[in-house]
């Protein structure tokens, strides 16, 4: 029964990871930037929901408020920093976002304190299989909302004018520019949308799990991992590998113990990259 519990927990958690990873894939594909501050944006979104909870508003409304605020935060970050590093060396952009990440971490630490907090949603729990499996309703709620947002975004990307402009820029920024797409605006919008997705995910995380100012980096690493396993622009792949990661984490938690949970995530990243390198090198040998 424990394994069923872990699987279900993992899948519900993985859907959340997939939402964050989707944002990362979006900006990676469009702007060719890896945002180390991704996780910190998630945590910031979480604090927005937490503050609504503190002031007596049900934290579930954070799902609507957080993305709106985070969208503008994202655009502000883009205007201040990212637009200066978009077409530069890859390492420069990683280091710049690493700086933003440290900055955010510490600002959140000052503003909200270093305690582990959660926004209590009072959703109760669901019992399954003769009360052997316990699922908090908040987890089911968060998975449902994540899927809803992902579907909305996919439709928006397919149908709207901005969505088409974003996809065109991702395919070939120069050609898009020649054909009259304002790429600067597209980049800003992409970063804003990514931040908004992080905001939604953060609000959901503050309801279902806990948030803490220094917890950002693991989320960045998880979403990076999901994107490299799935590949850019492969949406079902992102969802599948997100769930896979969630299940892996729950099992690592049961087997190795909670103190090794984050460490195992980072080790898995290294293992995946090593596997990828050997696979690629085998491919290269064929070309000889």
């Amino acid at each position: 029964m424990i394994s069923v519990q872990a699987c279900l927990d993992g899948i519900l958690l993985g859907i959340l990871f997939a939402l964050i990873a989707y944002g990362m894939a979006l900006q990676w594909g469009v702007m060719n930037i890896i945002n180390i501050a991704q996780g910190d944006l998630v945590i910031l979104g979480g604090y927005i929901a937490y503050f609504m909870y503190l002031y007596g508003i049900h934290p579930a409304w954070g799902v609507i408020v957080a993305p709106i605020i985070m969208f503008f935060v994202g655009i502000a970050i883009y205007k201040l920093v990212i637009n200066k590093v978009v077409d530069r060396d890859l390492f420069i952009s990683i280091l710049a976002t690493f700086g933003i990440s440290i900055l955010f971490m510490q600002l959140m630490n000052f503003a909200f304190g270093a305690d582990v907090v959660l926004a209590n949603s009072d959703y109760g729990t669901t019992m399954l299989f003769n009360n052997n499996v316990v699922l908090p309703n908040s987890k089911i709620f968060s998975a449902f909302i994540s899927i809803l947002f992902a579907i909305c975004l996919v439709i928006y990307m397919k149908k709207s004018k901005l969505g088409r402009a974003i996809r065109a820029t991702a395919q070939n920024a120069r050609a898009a520019k020649i054909l009259g797409v304002d790429t600067e605006k597209v980049y800003a919008a992409t970063f804003g949308i990514n931040a908004a997705l992080c905001g939604v995910a953060g609000a959901l995380i503050s309801i279902t799990f806990t948030i803490h100012p220094y917890m950002g980096l693991p989320y960045t690493i998880r979403s990076f991992m999901i994107v490299i396993v799935a590949g850019l622009g492969n949406l079902p792949g992102v969802a599948m590998s997100g769930m896979g990661l969630g299940v892996f984490e729950e099992f690592a938690d049961y087997i190795l113990g909670t103190e090794f949970r984050i460490g195992s995530v980072f080790l898995l990243l290294v293992l995946i990259l090593v596997y990828r390198r050997f696979k690629l090198s085998r491919k290269r040998e064929y070309l000889k």
Binding site: I34, I36, V81, K84, V85, R88, D89, L90, F91, I92, I94, L95, A96, F98, G99, I100, S101, I102, L103, F104, M105, Q106, L107, F110, L217, I221, F224, I228, G257, E259, F260, I262, G263, F266, L267, L269, V270, L273, V274, R276, R277, F278, L280, S281
Partner: protein, 349 residues
């Protein structure tokens, strides 16, 4: 060349005299030496080879833990030492302390080098983003995992053996200063001797275009691993010294401190100008002076200042101090400049 020799001798004399001129800053000067070692070694694979690693902190932390563990483990049971949490139940005699330190430093240098070889074989095939994030992951994973291992103190930390009572109290500072200064000289000599060789040219070729370098018949993998192993060797040594200097090892705040040391070494190399011999040294000195001078004014806001500093340096100053000097005085760097061309460019600006 003659000027250089005088410069080196001058710096050497200054380095030896420094703890006696500024006796109050001995610890700071030792930390400066460690920072310069870290920045210079990061520069070997970050600046010259073009493999920007966030993970050299792994070797630094590994060296720190290994040196302290060997120093304790040679004479006393390690588990009981860490369990007592720095209580003075076991005391090193001076001979034991120095013997332990010497063996510990050797282990702290050799083991990270081997680890770098093994890890390097598996991950140095990655490029760009993937390598940077992978090394970042390695550094954090090491911190998280070492924080869960009981025998080296787990969450509560590891107190390194206190300096034995030999004569005056001043000796501790002098011992660590000269140890770190000697290591710094060793590092500098090693790096300096790499510079005129073919090995350095190969590293630069890997940075500029790895595929072409490979096509020219260079076994890039071999040289990349050697480059990383050189880095790891000195990082481990620096870690071992720093562990003894700080006197307390914690998995995420001292040893595998990606937020501080891990970023500092990258930042210092970039600030000074990566891919140059003197850049990291200048960068580390400037950075350390800035840090010690202004950190106290920020009072708790230092990480905010650090974040802003990273962003500003990376965006507005990616060439670093050496790059700026090179642009300003190109003839000093042995570059021949056409005067007419230069004037035309100045007018254009």
């Amino acid at each position: 060349m003659k000027n250089n020799l005088i410069l080196y001798i001058g710096i050497l004399i200054f380095g030896i005299a420094a703890p006696f001129i500024f006796p109050a800053f001995k610890v700071q000067l030792s930390i400066l030496c460690v920072l310069i070692i870290l920045a210079t070694t990061w520069n070997i694979q970050g600046g010259e080879m073009g493999y920007n690693s966030f993970g050299n902190i792994l070797f630094y932390g590994l060296g720190m833990y290994l040196c302290a563990s060997v120093q304790v483990g040679m004479f006393f049971p390690l588990a009981e030492w860490t369990e007592s949490g720095g209580e003075k139940t076991f005391v090193h005699t001076p001979t034991q302390f120095f013997q332990g330190m010497a063996v510990g430093l050797i282990v702290a240098a050799v083991v990270p080098t081997i680890v770098a070889g093994l890890i390097g074989y598996s991950i140095l095939g990655l490029r760009g983003h993937y390598f940077a994030i992978c090394t970042l992951g390695l550094g954090v994973a090491a911190g998280e995992i070492s924080g869960g291992i009981e025998i080296i103190g787990a969450g509560q930390g590891f107190t390194t053996p206190p300096f034995p009572n030999v004569g005056s109290l001043e000796l501790r500072g002098e011992f660590f200063y000269f140890l770190s200064f000697f290591t710094l000289v060793l590092t500098f000599v090693a790096v300096r001797s790499i510079y005129p060789t073919r090995f350095k040219l190969i590293l630069n070729a890997i940075r500029d275009n790895e595929d072409k370098a490979e096509a020219m018949g260079i076994e890039t993998m071999k040289y990349k691993i050697i480059g990383w192993m050189i880095s790891a060797f000195f990082c481990g040594l620096a870690g071992g010294i720093m562990g003894g200097l700080v006197g307390y090892i914690d998995s995420t705040d001292v040893a595998f401190d990606g937020r501080e040391m891990g970023v500092f070494m990258v930042l210092m190399a970039i600030l000074g100008g990566k891919g140059t011999l003197w850049g990291p040294i200048i960068g580390a000195t400037v950075f350390h002076i800035f840090k010690e001078g202004f950190w106290t004014f920020f009072l708790g806001w230092q990480y905010v200042a650090l974040g802003v500093l990273i962003v500003v340096i990376v965006i507005y100053f990616p060439e670093g101090i050496m790059g700026w000097l090179r642009e300003k005085y190109p003839d000093r760097f042995g570059e021949v400049v056409d005067e007419k061309d230069r004037k035309a460019q100045v007018e254009l600006k």
